[in-house]
């Protein structure tokens, strides 16, 4: 197999990837993007939405992507869309490694001296009875459908969840004249008290806070039914979703017929590529997510100094923090290759400001009780239909961790390779063994991290 060579590879073209490409632009840079157009998730389909003249539906943060995307597309960076990274080899070297990706029907190799991983975030695992029924989708999915295809949820529709993105999708749907028939709030009742101590620190990000408060106020007006303190939720139906039932903290039960159920419980870093590279990770209790161990705020990895992780993939911080971090990573990479940069204090300041409200938000929105301790009968691994009860039984029978669990069950061995279930599976194992969630690391992942056909893997360009 031939191996191409370049100086810098950037994976991802969202806020962090775009900023990194700009900051590293006086080196040879190749940007690999699994999507067809730059923007990542937050600025998805921005150019098309602009064409459709629907920009106003999505709020100011969305519009802010126009400049970075236009700049990127008019720059002479080597941008390769529809390129899916399936692994990275020689990660332990100090001087660079080889990125493997699927592009134009075959697996390709590109050697790079520096790598910036900006693959963003994904939704937190949210298992509950009936979540695998057609009609149950994430809030992120609804947002993508709205941006890329101008699709809206079919009625009756229910929105359940908590957090900034939950409030954002609600306001975006309202902007197009759609409100949920029922709004189920999964926020913890007293989390505001735990969050208040973090409020003073959050004032550096006052603008963001104000925006969030505005969304929250907006959410309580106009929705037909809004239910607070929901602690459990179930989806029912035969071939697709037909009905949703729920219970509140006070024991009040409710139900509603439904065609669509949107759920959201925050986002977590997308760690699939990092795990396949055996990057050391740590569990951040403050936002209940696994993150790579970094040595600097520019995202340099502790044990693989040629690799940087920027943006939400390094830890959830929102798009502004992602942009600032991408700039810092791109600059750090440039500096290490060419020695031509002093630290950009403006970007440091932006990063600090963007992150200021995180502790407050994390304390306000810990993982929803509705999902953290799934019932025995609830499916956890969707691909292989493995339930929480089966996982708990396997632990009793001697499965010591998520990797050994595969000798007992097939959880994590299906097409998604643990993307949806690995974190929750590790958490259930920890709970069953009386350990803390952070003490059981999710299962190992291998190359190829996304499916490739045998033909694509076998193709040689010799």
């Amino acid at each position: 197999m031939k191996t191409e060579a370049t100086e810098v590879v950037i994976i991802g073209a969202g806020p962090a990837g775009l900023a990194a490409a700009k900051a590293a632009s006086n080196n040879e840079v190749v940007v690999l993007d699994e999507q067809a157009m730059p923007g990542g998730q937050i600025w998805r389909s921005l150019k098309q939405v602009e064409q459709r003249r629907d920009l106003s539906h999505f709020g100011n943060d969305y519009r802010r992507g126009l400049n970075p995307i236009n700049y990127f597309l008019s720059s002479n960076v080597d941008y390769r869309p529809d390129a899916r990274v399936i692994g990275v080899e020689e990660t332990e070297s100090k001087n660079g490694g080889i990125i493997l990706y699927l592009h134009n029907g075959s697996v390709k190799r590109i050697a790079a001296k520096r790598l910036i991983i900006a693959v963003g975030a994904q939704e937190r695992s949210m298992p509950f009875p009936g979540w695998t029924l057609p009609g149950v989708i994430t809030a992120g999915a609804a947002q993508i459908a709205l941006k890329t295809a101008d699709l809206v949820p079919k009625r009756p529709f229910i929105l359940a969840g908590q957090g900034p993105l939950f409030l954002l999708i609600l306001s975006q749907l309202k902007a197009v004249g759609i409100e949920p028939d029922v709004l189920l709030r999964l926020d913890h009742q007293n989390s505001i008290w735990k969050a208040i101590p973090h409020l003073p620190g959050a004032f550096a990000g006052a603008a963001d806070l104000a925006k969030g408060i505005a969304w929250r106020l907006n959410s309580t007006f106009g929705t037909k039914t809004s239910v607070k303190n929901v602690i459990s939720i179930e989806a029912h139906g035969k071939n697709h979703l037909e009905r949703v039932t729920w219970k509140t903290l006070r024991g009040k039960a409710g139900e509603c017929s439904a065609s669509t159920l949107l759920i959201h419980d925050g986002v977590v870093p997308n760690t699939q590529l990092l795990r396949s590279m055996r990057i050391p990770m740590w569990y951040d209790k403050s936002d209940a997510s696994w993150r790579p161990k970094l040595v600097s705020i520019a995202g340099q990895l502790a044990e693989n100094p040629w690799v940087f992780v920027a943006g939400d993939a390094s830890g959830i911080g929102g798009w502004k923090a992602a942009s600032a971090m991408g700039s810092l990573a791109g600059a750090a990479v440039s500096h290490s290759l060419k020695g031509d940069l002093s630290v950009n204090s403006e970007e440091l300041r932006k990063l600090g400001k963007a992150r200021a409200s995180r502790p407050f938000l994390n304390a306000l929105y810990p993982p929803a009780k509705a999902f953290t301790h799934p019932k025995d009968s609830t499916i956890v691994c969707r691909c292989e239909e493995v339930s929480a009860g089966e996982i708990r039984d396997a632990v009793k029978m001697g499965a010591q961790g998520p990797n050994q669990l595969k000798a007992f069950l097939r959880s994590g061995m299906g097409p998604c390779q643990g993307r949806i279930c690995a974190d929750m599976t590790a958490a259930i194992i920890a709970q069953s063994k009386g350990k803390k969630v952070g003490e059981v690391e999710p299962m190992r992942v291998r190359m190829p991290i996304s499916p490739v056909t045998l033909g694509e893997m076998a193709s040689s360009d010799d």
Binding site: E89, Q417, P448
Partner: protein, 373 residues
């Protein structure tokens, strides 16, 4: 259970589980000590073949030993399923090695001739077959043009290795065996009263009259503590796994087999890379190319995952079974065919350990064979 076991088996992989099971069935008080989730578990990386056609070239005793294991495998599998209610995906209707070139054909023919000669009066039934026969054995599938011949042995077959391991551990516990996890063994030493003390990281020590060291890559340092020599080395093999497909392969080949769940496993590589169990794109490229050469229709089939696993390879590829002279009652069991030998490990090794009864020619498996000359 009391703190002193009759036998402590170190290692709960394919070898340790099979031996422990056999001991427990004989009503011995047994404990299996298993390391942990991140151990270099060769037992998680097996291809799953029950294979005799090429095993034992150079050591006739091994050729017989592996054939005996294959002969009792169906009973072994049947009893396991009866005892546990778990299906282990066992099929033994023959195995094929496909040749895609003249070189491969000559190499296969050569091995078969030598194995036949070595077998002498004992039966050995692998034979070279032509394409027509291959198409009769595996109907309904279009082979690539370069597949013109193969080697076929009617005793060979396959099993689901993860289900096998799980069933053996389950049956072991049902028969009263104790399975202790998170038990990384640090040392084996003598204790008063003809007992051995097994020191475990972070846990209370375990005491046993007899010890079986069967922990794969972890054997050499423990063996050395007990006057035993374990000259094995790691050898990497990589495997690709496809998505589930309709059943097309009724029997396994040496580099391709379809599991009871429908996925096709593709191999194989033999790499000397130390303790590196990563899978690589170079080897995956080779494996994929070979798979398509054999079955062109696989071109559009998705690889869902891949892995690398480290075989435990003795210098001549044949098992090592030894009892320590300086520490009588301490045994060592190691090999690279834990799946194929699971049946005979569960039946014949326990009688050696408990009663000192050795199969004929068993002493040939001792590691002293590496010190000759």
């Amino acid at each position: 259970m009391t703190q002193t076991a009759e036998v402590a088996v170190i290692g709960g992989g394919m070898v340790g589980a099979a031996i422990g099971l056999g001991l427990a069935r004989k009503r011995s008080e047994v404990i299996i000590l298993d390391e942990g989730d991140n151990a270099l578990r060769t037992a998680r990386g097996n291809f799953g073949l029950v294979w005799t056609q090429t095993k034992g070239l150079g050591l006739q005793r091994y050729q017989e030993w592996t054939r005996e294991s294959a002969a009792i495998y169906s009973d072994f599998a049947g009893i396991l399923t009866e005892e546990t209610g778990l299906e282990i995906g066992h099929e033994q209707r023959g195995g094929l090695s496909l040749c895609t070139s003249h070189e491969e054909f000559n190499a296969s023919q050569n091995v078969i001739d030598q194995m036949k000669a070595q077998a002498g009066n004992l039966p050995y039934e692998a034979e070279m077959i032509d394409r027509k026969t291959i198409e009769e054995l595996i109907p309904g599938v279009r082979f690539g043009d370069s597949v013109q011949a193969g080697a076929y042995c009617k005793y060979d077959g396959h099993v689901n290795p993860l289900k096998l391991l799980r069933a053996m551990l389950h049956a072991f516990q049902k028969h009263g065996g104790h399975y202790q996890i998170n038990s990384s063994v640090e040392s084996i030493s003598r204790s008063p009263g003809n007992i051995y003390k097994i020191q475990i990281s972070g846990q209370a020590s375990v005491y046993a009259e007899k010890v079986v060291i069967a922990c794969g890559h972890g054997i050499p340092p423990l063996a050395a503590q007990c006057g035993l020599h374990c000259p094995t080395r790691p050898q990497r093999g990589q495997v690709l796994v496809t998505e589930r497909l309709d059943k097309i392969l009724p029997m396994p080949t040496e580099s391709m087999r379809q599991t009871d769940e429908g996925s096709i496993l593709l191999g194989v590589s033999h790499e000397e890379v130390g303790f590196d169990d990563k899978n690589t794109v170079d080897v995956s490229n080779d494996i994929a190319a070979r798979a398509i050469k054999i079955l062109p229709a696989l071109k559009n089939v998705n690889i869902v995952r891949g892995w690398g696993a480290l075989r435990i390879m003795p210098p001549d590829g044949c098992p090592i079974y030894d009892e320590s002279k300086t520490h009588p009652g301490v045994f060592m069991v190691t090999n690279h065919s834990g799946v194929t030998l699971a049946a005979i490990h569960s039946s014949r090794i326990p009688e050696w350990i408990l009663e000192g009864r050795m199969a004929i020619g068993f002493e040939e498996f001792s590691s002293t064979r590496f010190q000759k000359g």
